[in-house]
């Protein structure tokens, strides 16, 4: 039974965490968000959402096979091909992002490729190119880059072509995530 104030911890089974995590950080998923409405918390637990807390800094590649909420800092690459990536209001990504759905409430510097949807909320900021069949940008959101909604096979999560002239981060080749998540590889 979930109680207010109780920490929401995702199940640890099958999770492999390796890579460069900033010293002094309590570890991945150690600073989870506590949701006010009980229903939302229950749904969160049911859906196996992993939280990367505010104090966590990850440098390298992060891939997984469950939904992920990033409130910390990630520098490198994030790949959740079949899942939802939420960049929380405190989250800062300097990374290439590949996911099914990407919801941005914080800051993303780098290209985003989503097979389903990219949703930039009013507090969100994206500095990079977006490739997705559906894009929602709230009023007040910041976006600098291109939006490509072209109906082509790129809708499947594949790296976007590097924006040659803009000198942004070049997308890294895609790789399929193994079972269990998140997997963090040192960059």
């Amino acid at each position: 039974m979930w109680r207010r104030g109780e920490v929401v911890r995702p199940p640890d089974s099958g999770r492999e965490v390796t890579g460069a995590v900033a010293p002094g950080t309590p570890g991945v998923a150690s600073v989870p968000r506590v949701h006010a409405p009980e229903i939302e918390a229950k749904r969160t637990m049911d859906k196996d959402v992993v939280n990367i807390g505010k104090s966590v800094v990850i440098k390298g590649e992060l891939s997984g096979s469950e939904d992920l909420v990033i409130e910390g800092t990630v520098d490198g690459k994030v790949e959740l091909s079949e899942h939802v990536l939420t960049v929380g209001s405190h989250g800062k990504l300097k990374a290439e992002v590949f996911a099914k759905i990407v919801i941005v409430l914080g800051e993303v510097v780098g290209n985003i490729t989503a097979s389903e949807k990219v949703d930039i909320r009013d507090s969100g900021s994206v500095d990079g190119d977006i490739v997705s069949p559906r894009v929602a940008i709230a009023e007040g959101a910041h976006l600098r880059g291109s939006v490509d909604m072209q109906k082509k096979p790129a809708a499947a999560v594949v790296p976007a072509p590097a924006p040659k002239a803009e000198g942004k981060l070049a997308p890294l080749p895609g790789s399929t995530p193994g079972p269990g998540s998140p997997r963090i590889t040192a960059g």
């Binding site: 910041h142 976006l143 600098r144 291109s146 939006v147 909604m149 002239a165």
Partner: protein, 233 residues
């Protein structure tokens, strides 16, 4: 029947009549009647022509210089199947008005876009030129002409001299021929409006394809690069 009932019935009838009239006046896709906060809805013939021109291309590249409007990104993405670049020059202009020396802004505009020359099919200028001083306006025009592909199109909206003051307008595309213009707070001040001949001179290398004077006093001008347009004298 009491007099109170009669008054209530009349009020009901009148309010129903009012709502019917509002529904008739609204554009086809406006589901709810516009409120003052929603801004004004204007018919844009320039946008219609702009879309028709770019609609013939398989995957055009579009450059939007206005503030980010999510529904516009969706609209152009779905209608033109395009690659949409958002470069919010209003934010740059506001930043420059606050921090930077204004005399450096033209040089900044010349280097602002990292795209290669001749790679853009369409430019949405909106009313940016109402807020630029002459040197900045000229620098931007030169840059945009360079970026446009041959037979590319540029749609601009230019205000008239009577509309002085501060504050910007957000242009929200509703459909192929309707745009909602919503005021938004800004530190930017409108500059003296440009004459048609000055605008045409600035965009040297482009031809005016169509020009419309709206009831609001604004001028919509559609430019084309190359032989597609006909110069207006």
């Amino acid at each position: 029947m009491s007099s109170g009932d009669t008054v209530r019935r009349w009020r009901g009838l009148l309010s129903r009549l009012g709502s019917v009239r509002q529904t008739e006046a609204a554009p086809p896709d406006a589901s709810s009647p516009p409120t003052p906060d929603d801004g004004t809805i204007v018919t844009s013939k320039g946008l219609q022509k702009f879309l028709a021109h770019l609609g013939t291309r398989p995957a055009p590249v579009l450059l939007d210089l206005g503030p980010v409007v999510g529904s516009n990104v969706t609209f152009f993405g779905e209608h033109l199947n395009c690659k949409f670049f958002v470069e919010d020059l209003f934010a740059d202009l506001e930043r420059n008005a606050r921090d930077g020396p204004p005399e450096e802004f033209p040089a900044f505009l010349s280097k602002r876009f990292a795209m290669d020359a001749g790679t853009v099919d369409g430019v949405l200028l909106w009313d940016l030129y109402d807020y630029l001083d002459r040197p900045s306006a000229q620098a931007l025009a030169t840059t945009l002409v360079r970026l446009l592909r041959p037979d590319g199109a540029l749609l601009g909206c230019f205000g008239n001299a009577n509309r002085a003051g501060s504050g910007c307008t957000r242009f929200i595309v509703l459909d192929e021929s309707h745009v909602r213009q919503r005021a938004r707070a800004s530190v930017l001040m409108r500059q003296a409006s440009l004459q048609n001949r000055d605008i045409i001179k600035m965009f040297d290398g482009l031809c005016v394809s169509d020009a419309f004077l709206l009831q609001t006093g604004r001028r919509e001008m559609l430019f084309r690069k190359g032989g597609g347009g006909r110069p207006i004298t």
